[in-house]
Symmetry: C2
Amino acid sequence: MRIGELAERAGTSARTLRYYESQGLVRPRRSANGYRMYDEAELRVVHEIRSLLAIGFGLDDIRPFVACLRAGHHSGDVCPDSVAVLRRKLAEVDDYLDRLGAVRRRLHDQLAHAIAQREETCLRTRRPAD
Amino acid sequence: MRIGELAERAGTSARTLRYYESQGLVRPRRSANGYRMYDEAELRVVHEIRSLLAIGFGLDDIRPFVACLRAGHHSGDVCPDSVAVLRRKLAEVDDYLDRLGAVRRRLHDQLAHAIAQREETCLRTRRPAD
DNA sequence: CTAAACCTTGTCGCCGACGTCAAGGCAACC
DNA sequence: GGTTGCCTTGACGTCGGCGACAAGGTTTAG
């Protein structure tokens, strides 16, 4: 299939597919007139890329998964390099969850404090000489 | 004080302070020779900015807090606009925590699956005709 | 006098995953 | 043969919070 069809079937754009190619992630054949030609396997590769991008991976992190698929494995995550990336990403996510949790607590406290202050000000305003 | 001293006291750079000024967050007076002159109140403003940036706010989100401080409040978060931003950010963080938690579960499952697959492959390799 | 250490404005660079033209070639249909 | 719609490469724009550099003015110390 040509780039337009692949883009539509993968739910993305032709520009995006050319970008993936420039990053070495997708490798289409070329037809006689220079058009990029993709097979079904490339569709699966693009799906893998999109799926991993969606959960916060960068293209560099995704490279091992694509290589794993291209090596003939039915899943992109069974190869050692992919597993290593998964472990690292899990650790990163855990770390980020911790920090985001701390941010949440701080936001919550700050909000509670601000509202308490506003109520106090309101009381003083309503009874200035209480 | 001049920009260099403020930068050092606020733990940042002169470039950063000029950038905040270009975004309308800091407003120094100018001395006769054109140098930016800051007072203590501006140091507190910069501290507020840095503190909020550190927990993931953008400069646009921070603007109401600075305005609140500049309006004479002892804390930047007691004004209605600031409270509104705090509420919105808390909601955003909660949302992000949810999605990140989902990502974590997915990563965890994917990792468990990949390892299970590898062990299975390993067993088949050690006992090809079992 | 000069060097050092400040300051000024202006401009370009960075990161990452693309969007968005521009200018042209190729294919198919009426 | 003209129009439409696909495709090609190339290059610049986006977002945010600055870093880094250039080319110059100011002030202070020796």
